[in-house]
């Protein structure tokens, strides 16, 4: 298929590290897609995460990792009536892996979707 031959140029698969791979497995094992979209696919209950690296990490790796660590540990926020994200009890390494995975998805070239930073 011509498409799968072209895709290495745009999906930046050269950046798939072991950490990104572990991050993808954690993403799946915790069913994050059951509430969130990732590049527009998934559930429509919670924010798009394909570009959260830019929205919450300003495109900076360290800032984003720090944000993710704080965010994952603070859940659930238990604001009455507000939609909730569960506590997944992940350790620092696992949260870093997830952050690396989400950084990878943000850096894929997807024909300039989404239209703006809010996803």
């Amino acid at each position: 298929m011509h498409t799968t031959k072209e895709m290495p140029k745009t999906d930046h698969r050269e950046n798939i590290t072991e950490s990104v791979e572990r991050g993808k497995a954690l993403w799946e094992d915790n069913n994050c897609i059951g509430c969130h979209t990732l590049i527009g696919e998934g559930a429509y209950f919670a924010p798009e995460l394909g570009n959260v690296f830019y929205r919450r990490g300003a495109g900076n790796h360290e800032t984003f990792k720090a944000f993710m660590n704080g965010w994952m540990k603070a859940q659930p926020l238990r604001i009455p009536g507000r939609r909730q994200m569960p506590q997944f009890n992940l350790n620092d390494q696992e949260i870093d892996d997830l952050a690396d995975f989400l950084k990878f998805t943000a850096e894929m070239d997807v024909n300039s979707w989404p239209p703006n930073i809010e996803g």
Binding site: R13, V20, N30, Y44
Partner: protein, 477 residues
């Protein structure tokens, strides 16, 4: 009064009954999620949204599969004019599938998803945690085994009997269903490839092979209730499936717009998927045409209503609501919004829920030994169920479409600095979500009304069941 042409058709009955039980569960969880959309912490600790969603969508898919299997066990012997190859195998597979399905749903509800993943060895062959494909790998293997047994049973029946167009289209669709499901075992570390091939299951099912299944079931029912010549109906069926496959296969491109895929997909996807409504439109013309040209008045009015309803609602949900967001410049803004949810609901309901309810409506009176049709009173109750569910679904779709348009307007259209964030936008959509939930309650009432129709004739069942009577009833063709 036993009106079954072949006794082995009766294996369809447990499939249909179990399908309707799962359907009820699906709607219950839909209502839970609908409430969580507006009361965010409702049951949040016991049933997190993602769990409710998995249960809702997996129950949907599994009960539709039960429905398709029941339909095939009912229809294939009658078309092939021979008994089913092995009724015992069909019943054994029923229990295996029912047990595997129940265990999987209990797994979702009783243990955290990550625990379920570890328990079922997801590290060895990771296939879980992707939308609609959340089932543990071993459940997926179970599904494949059940499908193989099922296809074998049907294949042998068709081989020894009459080979009609309807049977061949149906079996082709069912084989396609099993084959494309195999892509669910392919889960590469590269998320772009993962997503690309995920659509080979999801899109090529609902906009490809499932359309063949739907077309075959619809054709069977139309022959039965209208008495129009088989040749005429078969010609339509050929045209419809040809259009479905030509537009549906390249139409997959409408999911490759924003996926690290070359930009030419924006053209291919837009052009071919814009033609996808055609087969659905053809089904409307054909269904109404056949009913208008009917050569007899079949006593089962409800089944005819379901058949016409399927054609119309599938066209609206898949054709019209699909077209609404399928062109790349539109999809750029609507991708992954409530517009998608609106379309998903009406398309699944209109095409696949309704076609299964159509064959159930036609076959159940015979399977229960009531006769050609249930009593007029039971049919009135059933038709109330039809209208309540269908109108409720129209409103669910309209409310979600309203929510989606506002969401696009507030969150997607403005520049980054001015756009409203996701959560703030959701707050503004609350009124639409409350209305959707209200329509959902009406849907549930409609479903309960529909189920009540089976109680109306229960006395007749008690009197006649267990009396095999095959004398002189094989009159219609």
């Amino acid at each position: 009064m036993n009106t079954l042409k072949f006794q082995s058709q009766s294996v369809a009955k447990p499939y249909f009954i179990f399908a309707l039980m799962l359907f009820t569960g699906q709607i219950l969880f839909g209502l839970v999620m609908g409430l969580q959309y507006v009361v965010g912490d409702f049951l949040g600790d016991a049933i997190p949204f993602n769990v409710a969603r998995m249960v809702h969508t997996n129950l949907l898919i599994v009960w539709l599969l039960f429905g398709f299997m029941g339909a095939a066990y009912y229809l294939v012997p009658e078309e092939a004019e021979t008994e089913l190859y092995s009724p015992k195998l069909a019943i054994a597979l029923f229990w295996i599938f029912a047990a595997a399905g129940t265990l999987t749903i209990l797994g979702y509800l009783l243990v955290p998803y990550s625990t379920l993943a570890h328990m079922t060895g997801n590290d060895i062959l990771p296939t879980m945690g992707r939308e609609f494909l959340e089932q543990p790998t071993i459940t997926k293997i179970g599904i494949v085994v059940v499908c193989l047994g099922f296809l074998f049973n049907l294949g042998m029946t068709i081989l020894k009997g009459r080979k009609t167009v309807i049977n061949l289209v149906l079996i082709t669709g069912l084989i396609g269903l099993a084959v494309f499901f195999l892509f669910s075992f392919y889960n590469p570390a590269n998320i772009a490839l993962d997503k690309l091939f995920w659509w080979f299951v999801v899109h090529l099912w609902v906009e490809g092979v499932w359309e063949l299944i739907m077309g075959a079931i619809l054709a069977f029912i139309l022959i039965k209730v209208t008495g129009v010549d088989r040749e005429v109906i078969e010609k339509w069926l050929y045209v419809i499936i040809a259009m479905a496959l030509i537009t549906g296969i390249l139409g997959t491109g409408h999911h490759f717009y924003w996926l690290s895929t070359p930009e030419y997909w924006q053209w291919i996807g837009s052009i071919f998927s814009a033609l996808e409504p055609l087969p659905f439109f053809a089904m409307v013309l054909y269904a109404f045409n056949m009913v208008n040209r009917r050569r007899r008045e079949h006593p089962n009015k409800a089944a005819t209503l379901w058949a016409l309803g399927t054609a119309v609602m599938a066209f609206l949900g898949a054709g019209v609501w699909g077209f609404l967001h399928t062109l790349a410049p539109v999809n750029f803004y609507t991708h992954g919004t409530q517009i998608t949810a609106a379309h998903g609901h009406m398309a699944f309901y209109g095409a696949y829920v309704m076609i299964v309810l159509t064959i159930i409506s036609y076959a159940m009176p015979k399977l229960r030994g009531i006769g050609e049709s249930s009593s007029p009173k039971a049919q009135v109750v059933e038709m109330w169920g039809f209208w309540l569910m269908t109108i409720a679904m129209v409103f669910i779709t309209l409310f979600l479409t309203g929510a989606g348009i506002l969401q696009v307007w507030l969150q997607r259209m403005p520049e980054s600095a001015e756009a409203l964030g996701f959560m703030a936008t959701q707050d503004k959509l609350a009124i639409f979500y409350w209305l959707r939930e209200a329509a959902g309650v009406v849907f549930m009432i409609g479903l309960l009304t529909y189920l009540a129709n089976f109680l109306v004739d229960r006395k007749k069942v008690a009197v006649t069941s267990g009396m095999p009577d095959t004398s002189g009833l094989q009159t219609d063709t």
